[in-house]
Symmetry: D2
Subunit: 423 residues, 4 copies
């Protein structure tokens, strides 16, 4: 189970806990499952496992561990994702064509790098904060890929008419969502962004002042039941509800429901990591695009929150951070039966919430030096920010300042929505 | 020549002045020139002339002038651009395939609608402010298309190896740009957006408060000479200067310079409305994408301004609005030889300046009721705001609050850049 | 009206008759009509008019008329179709983007080349058979483009929701097609190909021996009425009737009927050069692809003839060649009320008949020397031969040995089918 | 090792020998290797293994073995290749996305079907010639897929920068090719096609008469050394050597050599099933498209043979059929040191030889009844015939009448060329 990482040092056991969690998630998959790239956005499980290993090899072992030689020269090419400063790389959309190294060979690669990382941590990291920072970055990077592995394998199994399952269905029942409540936040200056205490990504900084006007925020996520009402009201066929680009997209793609929803003789069903099941009207809707979130909000007479509004509200009115992720069971936290007045429910760890904010640098943003500076900054165009963390997000990645981001037409992540309005 | 429209009423002569300017701009073109759609973004001149006429027919004459019958039923289909509420429409990318109505037949259509509009203005508009508002919107809409006509015909002629010219080269010489100066603006709360006095588009409202941090803004646009330095320093081949999506774009498209630039044995030349000429190093660079503007700024150790920063600076430190557009000669205003301390030059009417701001609704934004509500709001995704107006912009469209917007890869408008930095 | 060209000499009046016919066909079109390229296969009328002029300029005037200078250097680039040996050329799919030269300017170009050609014919051709051959080739080339002009403008008008007409509907009525008869041809050796007497294209030679087995050939073309039966029997939805590639094509393209057919409340209608009219069940079906012709034949328990079978039958049992084309009225020859026993009807000048023969060189085929050698040979792959000539074919192009060819998915030519079977 | 199948009966041991050979070929591959579809034309090894099993299940077991139930209903959908009459099927280009069933699960499927087939053969086939014919068809079908498995895995490994090898390099050396000799065949009537004795595919019949003119045929295949001369003479850059469509293809694809050839500092190398090695100038060139074969022939002043010419020559002058395939070592038969006068070398079992003949039905061709009638006939358009068999072809598939066929731009099969000329 992933854990929030302590900030002041990195122990071998911290390192290995994250590495082991990756292998635990992959252990349910056959070598063939780990091979598939079901669309260009998806990477094979095997590739994820190797790439996050390459990260440690490239940014820690090769430059810093004396005498370390590359495990395999070709891996530098095969498992570089997008780091221009780390040299040329294999074409992203062809990751599924690489049968070798096999899944077992990747396991061996991981073991080799782990052993060397143990040496590096024991011998060098203790005395060098800069290396500790890099190790921590590598571990958070690996955790991000743990979430991607779950998102991706869900899509891989979706493309297979046999509809394999990733794991067993959890033995839980949902609590009733109840009526939507609202909280009101007054206008004023707010400090937005991470304060630098504990681990964070560069895109969460610098903390800076923003004027946030008065607004209202829904006290929970929109449910599948509410989404069915939108569909029943012809939401997918009423052009005036949609952004022009969104309307063109749903026409072209033939979208009539969220991703993974399927009509059956007994109503809408949904594909999950634990199989196909009937829609649960009390669960939060997920796997919707920005366009769909925006259209729903317009239909509901509301709008999406900005990321500043969301962060301000989450910091002051959010429920406690979840004590552990629900990743490999794809389930949502039970809703409190009676929400406390003026608090927000489901703010952390259920669904990534679309905001209306385009992903952009904060005032004064400076990416890190060197290749790891490519981690976030170069993607700051034509993407929209999502906040809050989903059921597949490692716990250490759930915080008020965390900025996730996807293009407006992406749906394969666990993306939902929370409404906002003017006061 | 277009003129700023008075706000309190609309006279037939105001109306006809704008309509006549459109015809004056088209008069230099053959029927064949008016037929061409050189890429999906471009519309044929003839289509522009008909579409802006359709706007008056659809939103004024048909609903409000008693007894008015459509000039031709098919025109409702052919010349609707994107108004879902006004019914189905011809495919945008096939506008160049419509040989009939001919250019002459469009002229007859315009005359018919003009005559009816005269009646409507004389008989109805005087007593109804709502109709006066719609007429004014129609005229500003027509002026926007005047600029598009010039942008589009420039591209049409670019695709022709014969390189026809639109008009004669103006008999002017550029003044030296001189070194780049900077102005500093202090942090504070600013009122952003139009105050509602005089004509404006809905996307400029509501005026609202924003906190704008301290920043510095360059006192003029980046010149072609400076762009040549960027190119000479391998700016188009250094991946770390580019947004990831921008780098992919310039690789795919093979971009090595701004649009319309061509290498020749005697150096870089540029295609203009008045023919091909050598690059003038003192002129502002135009026809660059957001990606290129952003990469240049990174290379220069600076960034693009936000639209709030730009608006605040333009309102307080901008030079006076130009007294007339330079549209059909594609020339730039001469730079003042000695800029006054702390003022901004070339802020209005030279080049559309890319900002780093994604095009989004202002807090509390509400589109107009009915089909004209589709004018702006539904485009508010995956586009970036440009400010300031260019040499082809009608004078009445040059103001501190005006928001132009284009996708990040667009280059066929007169787009340039002005640098900003933190203080 | 085009005429069969005498073989032993070329007179100025012969030349000018063909040239004038081109202009007569174009005279019904506006400058805008002449500008349109409605799909990559289609060329603008204006381009046709210029290209066939370029042919004379490039292959006759420039190399052979002393002192002749190019009318416009750029035309060498703009109006070369596909002759690699004649230098680089404008991209085929962008022919519709060239507004200049205008239609009027092309008229002037034609007049200039005509005057020079008159000189060349008077002064040089009389004494040089090789030049006479080239002039004749140029004139037959121009006549081929006359047919293309009609095919292309029909498609251009089809893409326009206004459905303009090219000319008036002819005042004729169809005769009843009557039941399909069959003729039987015995097996034996046959001489296939042109004997070299009179004008012919290189692809019709050399005449050579083939063994043609016994076969039966339908005595007339398949009618629209018969095609409606195929459609009513779900012909477009029964996979086993189709070649695999054909089935994929009709799925992808959504074909449910021949090109230009449209369902209406009062039954199927068809777009013609003289407007939209109800399907006439006695007319031959045209505008079908090879895939459709093949599927129909399979449905009917028959097959397509080979080109050898067709040529052998046409030479021995065909009706007389038509005395003039019906090009610009798009009508078919009336069927003889009582066909003579053992003769073939509609063999010449009604519809291009798909054969099952892939377009290939005859044994011993040698293309002409020089650039005109690119005329036919280099297209001999992945195309199928059609025989017989259609209602838009100039009379001089209707003969038993003439080989027309198109890719299997082409439909915008006047293509129909005649059934064959084994004996 | 595959063997030519006896014609009069089918024994369980015959059946199992072919089935075992498939597994022997797959045994060298990891589960991951068996998963990859490196381009739409390629199928995963695992898919091949399942599909050829599905063939027996669908056409033999389900209709004929009493009480047989489908092994897995979903396999009917997943492993149908293109048989419309056998129901809907998985999209061809998504075969690589199906991780389940795994390679091991396919092995179990094969064992299950084998056991049932043994029963069917023992109990039913002995008494029913029609079933024996279907079993034989299934086995020949499986052998065709054995060749495809080798072609496909070669391509799969080519797409992997690690360049895995399929097997060990054979310990052989080539004999010198020596100068090209020619044989002359006189004109006359020839019987073309299979005489019906022994197994054959429907497309080889009916045997029929053709007139074959006099021609000369090269006595061996074109070598890699000769191909290097073509390249050195700028063969890939001289437009006049190419069919128009071929020229467009090599421009678009950037082809400068046969598939699998790579330039290195020490000359051209080639990727094979046993690794990358320097070009051997005495080996036959393979992995060329029809376009390249045709261009080479034109460059050499020759042409490709027709399939009739090839068959006539092979039957009368060909060397003996090889006694076994060389499939899994990718090597060529050694050339006889001193060819006998008037005989043809390398006619069988070295490279598929492009002919100039489009793939078409023989006169009187009738596909088999039922779904297996889709085996050949529906592909008879836009493909070209290849003759002779290659180093990966099972021995029972090497005969004078065998017709292989591929689109003109295909290169991943072992395709070479033999020249022909007129006499």
């Amino acid at each position: 189970m992933p854990t929030a990482l302590p900030r002041t040092s990195v122990e071998v056991s911290d390192f290995q806990a994250v590495r082991d969690e990756t292998e635990r998630l992959a252990a349910r998959l056959t070598p063939e499952d780990q091979q598939i790239q079901s669309m260009p956005d998806v990477s094979p499980t095997k590739w994820h496992r190797a790439h996050i290993t390459w990260f440690f090899e490239t940014f820690l072992l090769l430059p810093h561990l004396p005498g370390y030689e590359p495990y395999d020269e070709a891996f530098q090419f095969l498992f570089n994702s997008y780091y221009e400063q780390a040299g040329p790389r294999h074409a992203r959309h062809e990751r599924g064509l690489i049968s070798r190294p096999t899944a077992d060979e990747v396991t061996a690669y991981r073991a080799h790098v782990d052993a060397s990382m143990h040496r590096l941590i024991d011998e060098l990291v203790v005395a060098r904060d800069d290396l500790a920072d890099l190790v921590r970055l590598g571990l958070h990077h690996e955790q991000q890929h743990q979430e991607l592995m779950l998102m991706d394998i869900k899509h891989v199994f979706w493309k297979n008419p046999l509809r394999p399952t990733y794991n067993e269905r959890p033995d839980t029942s949902t609590t009733a969502a109840g009526p939507l409540g609202w909280v009101t936040i007054d206008a004023g200056l707010a400090e937005i962004g991470h304060d630098g205490d504990r681990f964070h990504f560069d895109n969460e900084t610098p903390r800076h002042t923003q004027y946030v006007g008065p607004f209202r925020l829904a006290d929970r996520l929109i449910t599948c039941g509410e989404w069915l009402e939108f569909m029943a009201d012809d939401g997918y066929h009423e052009a005036t509800l949609w952004l022009s680009e969104g309307w063109a997209t749903i026409q072209r793609e033939g979208w009539e429901a969220p991703l993974y929803w399927e009509p059956t003789a007994s109503g809408w069903h949904v594909h999950t990591l634990h199989g196909t099941k009937p829609i649960d009207p009390d669960e939060p809707v997920v796997h919707i695009s920005y366009y769909e979130a925006d259209a729903y909000a317009r239909w509901a007479g509301a709008r999406l929150p900005t990321e500043s509004e969301w962060e301000l509200a989450a910091r002051t009115l959010g429920n406690a951070e979840p004590d552990g992720n629900l990743a490999d069971t794809e389930q949502f936290h039970p809703l409190p039966a009676e929400p406390a007045e003026g608090t927000l429910r489901q703010i952390f760890g259920d669904a990534w919430e679309w905001t209306s904010s385009s992903y952009a640098p904060y005032p004064g943003f400076r990416p890190a030096e060197g290749a790891v500076g490519e981690y976030n900054g170069k993607f700051m165009v034509n993407q929209y920010v999502l906040r809050g963390g989903c059921c597949a997000t490692p716990a250490g990645h759930v915080r008020p300042t965390y900025r996730n981001f996807f293009p407006a037409n992406s749906r394969w992540m666990f993306s939902g929505l929370r409404l906002a309005t003017e006061v």
